[in-house]
Symmetry: C2
């Protein structure tokens, strides 16, 4: 089938072409029947005055798959200023039974739960589709930017024998009769691989068996991770992420202007140097107790709003979190061992990244694990990397869905997740 | 730290520079001590006649992390024709205890099991490292080529309620007290997403709880998947993979010549049209019974060798496998319903891809699932995509580790897996 995509139709005025796609809308107006055909590139208007074709369109209804052959004519009121005067319409595949919800209105009436229940259909809505086109660009930009910086893309196991983040939040797997777990992060492996490649990144699923059910948590998410060796401090890790975000914003401006316009969202300006403040400074600025080792979600929103006001920045690096709120592998601040050389990145009110410098000496790990009541023997496969010597290193993990949600001002992380998994949801 | 990478040292003859990396080898020769320093870019020779520095190098030993500052001099016998005459050597991080194996010999004495047991060290060997640099290029090329063809990169759940491939081979997960499984493939989701984007790809882990323990099976692997709509037949799917492989070979020639040379492997010539033969034709050519619905591993080797001999091709598409050996979603051949519009791609003796055209009508799924004793209700989340109408479509799944292993003539899939998971191995 010689097929023209909807976005290319305007280049074929007066020519006879064939388009293929889904019937997005069908409506009769006077003696004419209009349909919008949706394909991967957008929407194109089709018009017919033939009774048989009009009946076919009406009987098929929304979401039927069709091919339409006809001549292209200018029509200022149609998308892209053109329409196809149909000569031949063919049904390829028809819906079975009534559609579970409508996706062809500008404002969708279905609530979030219905959208998530009927993902095979709700994702077809142009607005939903736009979210995941932006998400694909975020992931592709992460990989391409880091590859250009000498990072190697890796694939580490998600079936693991021990969790690096916290013991309580692990999903258990029956591994040939032995217990195994789903990895909460690639932390152990990416550090081990600093010894191999110095610089590694991974884009892969990560799991947290947390029971809380909030608008910014799901139990399976896509983690963007990198780790790099031979750093001076966590500042080098922040600088790398900052440079990536500058690259990302440029790419989104180049490739996703249409998606941002459709979703009425703004591509952020990324400062060449995102403001970097210590946790205690941020706490002071927003009037909080400086003794707390962490920010809660409300404080993150306040800090983000303050940074926007103070620096005009949608982004804020908050550094030097308290040691008790950071994982065992966090590097203590040499100037104050109650603090760590760590950071979170806040973006439009949400934490989207956690990172920092890591410990790199074997003995430090043995001490930290023991002090936290963890058994170093369970981590021996990991500790071997330190026994074989690693340089100072650090890295970060960022949630792909969280970044997408904040880029597009989506209220719930689930809107930025194709098929979310939470306590109540294992399908679709 | 102003640092020069090993691969750049030759551009700094007579200059004073600093390199950083791991001591790959240390040896004394007459009054001089030589070390090879390994960093992410390669190896560089360092030489000293200072007793204190010589003692430091000897005491640190292999795998210590050091920085070396000195003047660059030409030295034809050293890598890249240069060496660094050390002025200052600093120990950054020293190994603890003896190394579990040696990685600094041209021929490694450790067997595969020891290499897998001590992955944090064995991966540092230049030959091992080269394998995964090639692998990273394979994955990156898959993503970039397909994005250029209008495919959207997606992230689908690995925690699922039902398996698409075969019921017996699922890993069970305790999902908040409910049973869940690890996805064997993104099959259901990528088909659902044909309705959204027409063309999708995914690079993600996949799981098979198969108990067999062979050189070409592991229980967790990285699956390269794509699916595309509006096809005429499985031929369109093969054509897309063929075009990708042509792109991949060009990229490997451009970026990985050094890795292939080190591993004494040849980048394959990919025919513009890889030979495509029906299973029955292949069986006839290699003297097998044409009644069998599938090829066993031995027959795959024979078929591959025959294609190399007959067509000069390292690749062979074998099509039209028997319906009983293909999954429920396979499209039967309209000319012979005992066969399917499916294919495998053989590459240097191994099957590296399985794909084909899929059923796209709701009623066909209900019938096929029922006929195979599967409950359509368990797949309702998936069947909704067909009730909402999908066009003819097809796709494939390819094993990243298998492709890597065959590109580099590795005998065991585990050599092409950073941290393999099999029945006996859950660490490192």
């Amino acid at each position: 089938m010689e097929r023209t995509l909807s976005a290319e139709v305007a280049g074929h005025v007066d020519a006879r072409i064939t388009v293929a796609g889904w019937l997005h809308t069908v409506r009769a107006l006077g003696g004419l029947t209009f349909a919008l055909v949706r394909d991967r590139a957008g929407l194109v208007q089709v018009v017919t005055e033939d009774d048989a074709d009009a009946n076919l369109l009406r009987d098929l209804g929304a979401e039927a798959v069709v091919t339409v052959t006809g001549r292209v004519a200018r029509e200022p009121r149609a998308p892209q200023g053109v329409e196809i005067r149909a000569e031949h319409i063919e049904a390829i595949s028809a819906p079975v039974g009534p559609l579970p919800l409508q996706i062809n209105k500008r404002e969708l009436s279905a609530g979030l739960e219905a959208m998530l229940d009927h993902r095979a259909l709700s994702l077809r809505a142009p607005a939903a589709r736009a979210v995941f086109r932006v998400q694909a660009e975020v992931a592709a930009s992460f990989a391409e930017f880091l590859a250009g910086q000498g990072f190697v893309g890796v694939h580490t196991p998600k079936l693991v024998s021990a969790g690096a983040e916290s013991g309580a939040d692990l999903f258990a797997v029956d591994y040939f009769g032995r217990p195994a777990f789903l990895a909460q992060s690639p932390q152990c492996y990416k550090q081990m691989l600093v010894g191999v490649f110095e610089r590694v990144f991974e884009i892969a699923p990560a799991y947290r068996a947390e029971k809380h059910d909030t608008a910014r948590h799901t139990n399976e998410f896509t983690s963007l991770d990198f780790e790099l060796g031979f750093i001076d401090s966590h500042e080098d890790v922040m600088a790398m992420e900052n440079a990536w975000l500058v690259h990302l914003a440029a790419r989104l401006r180049e490739r996703c202007a249409g998606e941002f316009a459709l979703l009425e969202a703004e591509i952020p300006e990324v400062p060449v140097r995102i403001p970097r403040l210590r946790l205690s400074e941020v706490q002071e600025a927003i009037g909080l107790n400086q003794g707390e080792p962490d920010l809660d979600p409300e404080a993150e929103r306040a800090a983000s709003a303050w940074a926007k006001e103070r620096f005009g920045s949608d982004f804020l690096f908050v550094t030097h979190y308290g040691v008790e709120k950071r994982p065992f592998y966090a590097m203590p601040d040499p100037e104050d061992p109650r603090l760590t050389l760590s950071f979170d990145l806040l973006f439009r009110g949400w934490e989207i990244t956690t990172g920092g410098q890591r410990l790199h000496r074997y003995q430090d790990y043995v001490e930290k694990l023991t002090a936290r009541g963890l058994d170093p023997a369970a981590f021996d496969f990991y500790l071997e990397a330190f026994r074989c010597a690693l340089p100072p290193h650090g890295g970060l993990g960022a949630g792909l869905e969280r970044i997408t949600a904040r880029l597009l001002n989506l209220r719930n992380l689930r809107e930025a997740t194709l098929f979310p998994r939470d306590r109540g949801r294992l399908t679709p």
